[in-house]
């Protein structure tokens, strides 16, 4: 799904990430942890080709990220659901249209689109807020909405950047449950977080692999995790 071979990213000679070699297999569940500023977001951006490696190779769905043109990147992103740290929405559209945005831009026609959207909103507990505007949503609602938007196209891979960063513990567990459920449906999940409690909670539910970013390099996390 996503493979990295000795990939590195940085500005000039100053490398933020280096020696990245790993493979995200289909249906796997990964956590990426590390202190703030360790490059977790940058790592995720390499996974959905917002950034390109300065060295080595990143392969997305079998294609080298360097060789993807803009249209190919767009096609790849239609197979990747991204839950961004700051949950970017279009503030002039109501929540339901924001969640359906990946379908709108990919012009996917579906006879059951309205029902699918309603089911998804119910699943993430946002049905009563379907017509609310994004600025009216709480932090937890925004995170769940971002997750709903990320999965509406039934992507193969879900990348979540600090999905529980702005919510309380109860909401964190609720979001985690949603992600675990998606993984059981066969989706590949990669969650970047510095919340070790969340990782421990997840490991009780799913066989998650934990990667740690340390001084720009990936290493296996300590066994106690």
């Amino acid at each position: 799904m996503i493979e990295m071979h000795d990939a590195a990213y940085g500005y000039g000679s100053d490398l933020v990430l280096s020696d990245l070699t790993l493979r995200l297999a289909p249906g796997s569940f990964h956590f990426l942890t590390g202190p703030s500023g360790s490059g977790k977001t940058t790592f995720l951006k390499l996974c959905y080709a917002e950034l390109l490696p300065v060295r080595g190779q990143v392969t997305i769905f079998g294609n080298s990220a360097d060789a993807l043109n803009r249209d190919a990147v767009a096609r790849a992103r239609q197979r990747i659901g991204v839950v961004h740290q700051d949950c970017q929405f279009l503030d002039h559209l109501p929540l339901d249209e924001n969640i359906a945005l990946p379908l709108t831009v990919s012009r996917r026609a579906s006879a059951t689109r309205t029902q699918d959207l309603a089911d998804l909103l119910t699943w993430v507990g946002l049905m009563p807020r379907a017509h609310a505007m994004p600025p009216e949503l709480s932090g937890g609602e925004r995170q769940r909405a971002a997750l709903a938007r990320a999965i509406i196209t039934d992507p193969d891979l879900i990348l979540a950047d600090e999905p529980t960063g702005n919510v309380d513990w109860e909401m964190s567990i609720r979001l985690l449950r949603l992600l675990v459920e998606l993984n059981r449906m066969g989706k590949t999940i990669l969650i970047a977080t510095h919340d070790l409690g969340l990782i421990r909670a997840a490991k009780q539910q799913v066989g998650a692999r934990v990667l740690r970013l340390n001084r720009g390099r990936i290493e296996a996390a300590a066994a106690e995790l």
Binding site: E50, R70, D71, A74, R75, R77, Q78, V82, H84, Q88, F89, L90, H92, L93, E97, L101, P102, T104, V105, S106, R107, R149, T153
Partner: protein, 300 residues
């Protein structure tokens, strides 16, 4: 992305895609207002160009094949000299017909300057003879020489002296009208480009989200192209309507101000200004398309 795809998308419309770009913004009002103002000016430039062309054609056609002989002979000798001139004209190849301008017609020609009760018989008014030449024309130098030899009081005036500058001026005016039209189109394109660039710049967060969820650049560009094209068309339609109204409101000055009251369209020419909104839309389409792709390419 294909141009035809863009045009098809424009014609078909896409309400959902149209909503992804915020509607508000100063560029909306700016585009509509400037397209309207430019269309208003374009209608006048077009009217000027068309009217000047019509004037040039009329002067050219009406005067090109005609010339006049002025015969200033003493009254006693006038009939004999007129007969000689007519004989010479009959013998000159390239002349289709001739006509002696009667006293009544000459009085009508002089009426604007001397009033209606002109005693033409008391004035030394020359006798005028109108010549209509064949398409091949006659040898004017030869005719002048013969008249000088046989009827010195007869002077050939082939109108060239004053016709050419008039026709040239009218042609130049037509050209200036066309140039003004081109400048208006260029300004419209520049304005739409600036407005589109401003809109793209202010909507960068929107573009970022759209890309994040898998939108192609062609999809994003189309949303802007569609919006600016329709705005320009709407503004230009209103401006054209106002321009046509203003042309119709020019008061009729009759024959005294023929050139002024001639500014405008005649018959089928009225269809021409209807092309102004379409031209504005096509200009906006290309200007926005180029600006959108250039901007999107420059964004990470």
């Amino acid at each position: 992305m294909s141009v035809f795809g863009d045009i098809f998308a424009l014609m078909r419309g896409d309400p959902q895609a149209d909503r992804v770009v915020p509607r508000s913004g100063q560029s909306v009002r700016l585009t509509v207002a400037v397209a309207g103002a430019m269309a208003f000016l374009a209608v006048f430039a077009l009217a000027l160009s068309v009217s000047a062309g019509r004037l040039a054609d009329r002067w050219s056609d009406a005067l090109a094949l005609t010339s006049t002989i002025r015969l200033s002979a003493p009254p006693a000798e006038a009939p004999a000299q007129l007969a000689t001139v007519m004989t010479i004209l009959d013998q000159t190849p390239g002349i289709a017909r001739t006509r002696v301008i009667g006293a009544e017609e000459q009085a009508a020609l002089l009426e604007p300057w001397f009033g209606p009760d002109l005693p033409l018989g008391d004035l030394p008014v020359p006798q005028l003879i109108e010549i209509v030449e064949t398409p091949e024309g006659y040898d004017d130098d030869g005719l002048r020489l013969r008249l000088a030899a046989e009827v010195p009081a007869a002077v050939l005036d082939d109108h060239t002296r004053w016709r050419r500058p008039l026709v040239a001026a009218a042609e130049r005016l037509r050209l200036l009208g066309g140039l003004a039209l081109a400048l208006i189109l260029g300004s419209t394109a520049a304005m739409v480009t600036l407005a589109a660039q401003a809109s793209l710049a202010s909507n960068q967060p929107v573009i970022r989200v759209l890309r994040l969820v898998g939108a192609r650049d062609s999809y994003i560009a189309r949303a802007f192209v569609r919006r600016f094209t329709l705005r320009a068309f709407t503004g230009a339609l209103a401006g054209t309507g106002l321009g046509l109204g203003a042309l119709l409101a020019i008061p009729d000055t009759g024959t005294a101000g023929a050139v002024l009251s001639d500014l405008g369209f005649r018959g089928q020419e009225w269809a021409m200004p209807l092309g102004v909104p379409l031209l504005a839309a096509v200009t906006a389409f290309w200007a926005t398309r180029i600006a959108a792709f250039r901007t999107l390419r420059s964004l990470p």
